[in-house]
């Protein structure tokens, strides 16, 4: 999720200073109550609803919501008194009801958290994760006309906090969904590491025969301008109506709210910190676009559903000892020794350009080739990708490429660095090192393409 929503994620607990907390409780008041702050010296009074204190701001400032709706912070001092006016009124939330239409294709919605699943608490002002995913459906009522949706609440966490364990849980949940005869699966997810999860599921799920569509939002869905509404509606459409049998990411195609692009899970990357069209297909075309009227426009290749009747399974073993490194001018390759000493089995290098790391440096200690060689000779795998993000790496064009390659680094074609990382975790978790090495540069699920389409850049 974008950083600007992160900091306010878990701030419902009040963080007043001890002195203020005591005075509040002495007045028999609590957050949400109407109080009056009386200044004995000046005789002035301020009337308002007591708000909680977030982790930011002065812990000695009492936050009041005035009748105008504004919040103000007023410093609490010895000359001030808190008077309770009235206790807060409990209001009942009208729970949105989702009409179910059994005749529509069944879509299982796996809920994992993220901005799309967060909302502002109007009373406290904090942003928190929805605990009832049904609320999300209430915000996009037209979903009920697209699919018969079954919500599967799995977890409620921000995507930057996800790791292998969460990927495993999600993969197993998708397998469960296939057993429920779902036409497709939608996974709501935080956007930061959405493409890592997409890659992980792409490798883990074998014999997948339905669309698994991951979606999220860059703006929380309690904002009238959220991108989540269109993303969710489009994702459910893809899950309910398409014949795609792959893991894909469905997010805004551009900054307007007109269409979403559906991108193969191993060819997607978050390319912008905050824009709604942050996800782009890298080194490939999107599979298709879905517009706000529900029209599909197919542009890229994809695997279609088949009638082979095989049950989808999940290979969820993941090797934890895989690292990612970035090569940059004057970088010290000694870090590779560290990983070796910690028992790491593979390293993905985000090299420069065509897949370089500093090699023939004036200061020999800055040359990566020796360290790479040492790591490989110890039985480790070094995968070379490019920090250019777009394009294919090459091991032959320049001498330095040949040197790092002969040191043992494996150039990974047009595979994204993040995908190479996930792929190595998966390969080393399920196959021998020898097999893993061989499979690294072989296409398994669309992560490596043989042709670089001319119009697949930017």
């Amino acid at each position: 999720m974008p950083a600007h929503n992160l900091k306010s994620m878990c701030v419902i607990i009040s963080m007043y200073s001890k002195q203020v907390e005591e005075s509040i409780s002495n007045a028999n008041a609590s957050v949400g109550d109407e109080i009056e702050l009386f200044d004995r010296k000046t005789g002035k009074k301020v009337h308002g609803t007591l708000m909680p204190k977030t982790e930011v701001g002065d812990p000695n400032s009492i936050v009041l919501k005035l009748s105008t709706g504004y919040n103000v912070g007023i410093k609490y001092t010895d000359q001030k008194e808190i008077h309770l006016i009235s206790k807060k009124k409990e209001h009942t939330f009208v729970k949105p009801e989702l009409k179910k239409k059994r005749s529509l294709p069944k879509v299982v919605m796996i809920y994992t958290g993220g901005t799309i699943g967060s909302k502002v608490d109007y009373v406290t002002g904090g942003v928190y994760m929805l605990t009832k995913p049904e609320e999300l459906l209430g915000a996009v009522p037209e979903l009920a006309d697209i699919a018969d949706i079954e919500v599967m609440p799995l977890m409620s966490i921000a995507s930057e906090d996800m790791g292998h364990e969460e990927w495993k849980k999600i993969a197993s949940a998708v397998v469960d969904a296939t057993k429920m005869n779902a036409h497709g699966v939608v996974i709501t997810h935080g956007t930061d590491t959405m493409h890592y999860t997409a890659a992980a599921l792409s490798f883990m799920l074998h014999d997948l025969n339905i669309p698994v569509v991951i979606t999220g939002s860059q703006r929380s869905t309690d904002r009238g301008s959220s991108d989540g509404f269109l993303n969710l509606a489009s994702a459910v459409r893809v899950a309910a109506q398409s014949d795609i049998a792959e893991v894909c990411i469905c997010m805004h195609a551009d900054s307007s709210d007109l269409k979403c692009s559906v991108i193969r899970g191993v060819k997607a990357r978050k390319m912008h910190t905050s824009r709604r069209d942050a996800f782009k297909a890298i080194n490939s075309l999107p599979i298709c676009y879905v517009d706000s009227n529900g029209e599909f426009e197919y542009v890229g290749k994809y695997r279609k559903k088949t009638q082979n009747g095989k049950q989808t399974s999940a290979f969820t073993n993941m090797e934890p000892k895989v690292a990612m490194l970035k090569a940059y001018p004057n970088s010290d390759p000694e870090i590779i020794d560290y990983y070796l000493s910690k028992g790491y089995k593979a390293i993905v290098i985000e090299g420069t350009g065509l897949g370089h790391a500093p090699t023939s440096t004036a200061d020999e200690s800055h040359s990566w080739s020796k360290k790479v060689k040492k790591f490989c000779e110890a039985g480790g795998i070094v995968a070379m990708t490019s920090q250019c993000v777009y394009g294919r790496v090459n091991s032959m064009v320049y001498r330095n490429l040949r040197l790092i390659s002969s040191a043992g680094a494996i150039h990974c074609e047009d595979m994204l660095a993040e995908v190479a990382y996930v792929k190595l975790c998966y390969l080393l978790g399920n196959f021998s090192v020898k097999q893993a090495k061989e499979m690294l540069v072989k296409d398994i699920t669309g992560e490596i393409t043989l042709r670089s389409e001319i119009d697949s850049f930017m």
Binding site: T54, G57, Y70, P96, R275
Partner: protein, 610 residues
């Protein structure tokens, strides 16, 4: 008309003044805050939806807007919009300038300033903000303004983001320009303690004056807006927007009082008659070959006509609420929200519309109308026609019960008000979670206190600079005060000349359709500098202004092309002595000036001829 006893009719009135601040950047991003746009970068199409609030309900004004199902288009320009403005990037830190100015304003009105400022999001449902909310901060509360011995409470002073300006309004989409969005503005709200329409005008003038005295506010059209909130006993709170001229504020308020009084009378009459609005009936078939252009135009593309009988409404739909304002106008304005062009009703000249006797007869039959029943007709596209007549009927029903709370717009022609939308409930406000609260330090408070302008001091200064007492007074109240001070200071041109240009010549030019107010400050500065240095004459200054130079360079061009360079000193002497007969000084003066009016300074010539 006799002036009513405002206290007796329960007159309640308060003002909301919005003033744009003059800062280098917008409130929460680095964009230019002066609307110097540059090229169009993109046009974004966005959808917004009403989100369920804390109670789980969507309020009436929200649903009224979202019922329109419109797309919002945002035009963004190179210099004035960035990702923050189009809801694609979190806000940057607050503009320190804007914060300082607003603290000064709070001090000016003796308001309490919170120790910690909290940035809020105020929900916006009409699409005017791509983020669907506007950021706003309470800077002051519990302030006051003394005006002719009456103390008017200043309940709230806030610093907020300007919304975007509307470009066009189509049936299914509204286009906005986001150049304005995020420009800092202060909103000053008075309590409902204004006693008369005249006082409302006085307070508005005074607040505007005080704001301009800070020297840190924008000038020009739209840079200050005054909204009036008012109600009378038995009436309802109405918010009036769109005052172009402050001078007519009292008259508009008086006319609004009359409108409410007449609506109350109408309500009583309708209740006496047991009047009620009927149900909409599809009467399209009756008009399939009608000569009524208003209807036939709508039927061309597969449109529909709906009619409804209005028992007890005869004579009342057409009853006047003000100049060119009837209950029918109000109903029609409600209908228009759904995209239809208007409404026809039976208090109007029906044959005049081209509706035949035959059609009328059929209509009466189909609507099952009694002899004394009125009717209304609404034509338009199938769904908008139905929604339109429903809205009109809804307004008629309200007329039987009460005066509705509404946001209304000034009709500057008749000085009446027209319906814009139902008044929004208390705006939903929640904290801006992307920004931290701001602690106000003692030094900031002191600096704000120090920069409160002193009215007497400024009055005194002006009287010294401008010799005409009227012009000096006019300048004090004028939007051009700040510009005047800047130009006087920077160009060293004669303050009297600058004042007369800004206050008199500009108005003069506007009457002739030339908007000299649009000339940029730097350009004006260059013109007056040239005058002060003796490069051009007073007459040439006026000539240049007429041509609205867009840049400093274009002044050069004008001077060159129009030969406006001043002829002075030796050059003048040579010209005069070589070409004119000195014996008749009066005639010489006249001859020379008629030929070189724009190039020769009259005074200099006079001296030379002596």
């Amino acid at each position: 008309m006799a002036t009513p006893d405002y206290a007796k009719i329960g007159f309640k009135c308060g003002l909301e003044i919005h003033q744009r601040l003059k800062t280098n950047t917008k409130l929460f991003c680095g964009c230019n805050a002066l609307m110097a746009n540059g090229d169009l970068v993109t046009s974004l199409e966005r959808m917004q939806r009403a989100v369920v609030g804390e109670t789980g309900k969507v309020d009436f004004s929200t649903s009224f807007e979202s019922g329109k199902k419109r797309t919002f288009i945002y035009d963004a320009y190179r210099n004035t919009s960035c990702l923050v403005d189009v809801d694609e990037e979190p806000p940057h830190n607050i503009s320190k300038d804007a914060l300082d100015i607003s603290l000064t304003v709070s001090k000016m009105f003796k308001s309490e300033i919170p120790d910690e400022l909290h940035i809020m999001r105020k929900e916006v449902v009409n699409g005017s903000d791509p983020s669907a909310f506007q950021r706003t901060i309470q800077i002051g509360y519990d302030g006051s303004l003394l005006i002719n011995d009456d103390s008017i409470s200043i309940t709230s002073i806030s610093l907020e983001e300007e919304s975007s300006g509307i470009v066009s309004n189509e049936e299914n989409s509204v286009k906005y320009n986001v150049d304005r969005i995020g420009i800092p503005l202060v909103e000053i709200d008075t309590g409902p303690d204004i006693k008369t329409p005249q006082q409302a005008k006085d307070v508005a003038y005074r607040i505007g004056l005080l704001l301009r005295l800070t020297g840190k506010v924008q000038r020009g059209i739209g840079s200050i807006r005054q909204d009036v909130n008012l109600s009378i006993a038995g009436g309802a709170r109405v918010e009036i927007k769109g005052f172009q001229e402050l001078d007519v504020m009292d008259q508009v308020i008086d006319n609004e009082v009359i409108r409410q009084q007449r609506l109350i009378a109408i309500k009583n009459e309708l209740q006496k008659r047991n009047a009620y609005p009927g149900k909409p009936v599809d009467v399209t078939d009756i008009f399939s070959s009608t000569k009524c252009k208003v209807i036939s135009d709508n039927l061309k593309g597969g449109g529909k006509v709906y009619g409804a009988k209005m028992p007890g409404f005869i004579g009342i739909i057409g009853a006047e609420l003000g100049t060119n304002l009837r209950l029918g106008t109000e109903m029609s304005d409600y209908a228009k929200v759904s995209g239809v062009k208007g409404m026809i009703h039976s208090d109007e000249d029906i044959p005049g519309y081209g509706i035949s006797e035959e059609e009328l007869k059929l209509l009466r039959t189909i609507l099952a109308m009694g002899k004394d029943d009125a009717f209304i007709l609404v034509a338009g596209k199938a769904d908008s026609a139905l929604r339109g007549i429903e809205r009109a009927l809804e307004r008629a029903k309200i007329a039987t019960k009460e005066v509705p709370m509404e946001t209304r717009n000034v009709n500057s022609k008749n000085l009446t008000t027209r319906f814009m939308r139902p008044i929004p409930g208390a705006s939903r406000m929640y904290p801006e979670t992307d920004l931290f609260p701001i602690s106000i330090s003692n030094s900031m408070m002191e600096a704000a206190e120090k920069s409160v302008p002193n009215l007497e001091e400024i009055t005194h200064r002006l009287s010294k600079l401008i010799s005409s007492k009227t012009l000096a007074e006019q300048m004090l109240k004028s939007q051009e005060l700040q510009l005047f001070e800047e130009l006087t200071e920077k160009t060293k041109a004669d303050p009297n000349f600058i004042a007369s240009i800004l206050l008199e010549k500009f108005k003069d030019l506007r009457r002739n359709g030339i908007d000299a107010y649009s000339i940029e400050d730097v350009v004006l500065e260059s013109i007056f500098s040239r005058y002060a240095k003796g490069d051009i004459t007073k007459a040439a200054v006026e000539e240049i202004l007429k041509l609205l130079p867009a840049s400093v360079e274009s002044i050069d061009k004008i001077i060159r092309e129009k030969s406006l360079k001043r002829i002075t000193g030796n050059e003048l002497e040579i010209l005069v002595k070589g070409n004119f007969n000195f014996s008749d000084k009066g005639k010489a003066m006249k001859d020379i000036m008629s030929k070189y009016r724009l190039n020769i300074d009259g005074e200099e010539l006079n001296k030379l001829l002596k």
